[in-house]
Symmetry: C2
DNA sequence: ATTAAAAGTAAAGTTTACTATACTTTTTTG
DNA sequence: CAAAAAAGTATAGTAAACTTTACTTTTAAT
């Protein structure tokens, strides 16, 4: 999963330490998120998006995996019969 | 944090086992999320929202904590000078 | 009323987000 | 260029999301 944290942080002219401080996480967390070492929790994702005035989906890019809902439901239901 | 998983699952006439199967998690996970025992990861939150054709923010209700962005930036920057 | 299906509980184990600390490298600025 | 600020690396530890298994309670169907 990709994210626009670094880009958004820079456009707000903030350092990693400042962003970490605002979000009440450590600088390590910001570095790791920007570097893609791991993914934010739902809470932190929400706080980041809210801080930048965006939706979670606008900050975090979830690639692939577009499910055909109707088909998936049919298949899954069949599997459970 | 609240979520609308149970409501959405029922409106799709699915059991917990079926939803778990579709989302490729265990039934325990669905039960625990519906019961509010813990929060979904960002990944799972995305998969759930996508499955129901909604945004993460439409499925998960993040209460409180509305930050005044400009003020927070000013304060935080001051703290870092 | 029985039975079966669905929902729920409990607890131990794994994985991963996040912290804390300490040190190194890169970038910025005077 | 030199100093300071910012960014990055590494690693051990904690917390919480998620799994696995096994058993109990509630709801639905006949």
């Amino acid at each position: 999963m990709q994210n626009r944290i670094q880009e958004l942080r820079k456009s707000h002219k903030m350092t990693q330490a400042e962003l970490a401080d605002v979000l009440e996480v450590t600088r390590q967390t910001i570095i790791s998120l920007e570097k893609g070492k791991y993914n934010a929790s739902l809470f932190l994702a929400h706080d980041i998006a809210e801080f930048f005035g965006l939706s979670i989906e606008e900050v975090f890019i979830f690639e692939g995996g577009h499910i055909n809902v109707e088909e998936t439901i049919r298949e899954t239901k069949a599997r459970h019969e």
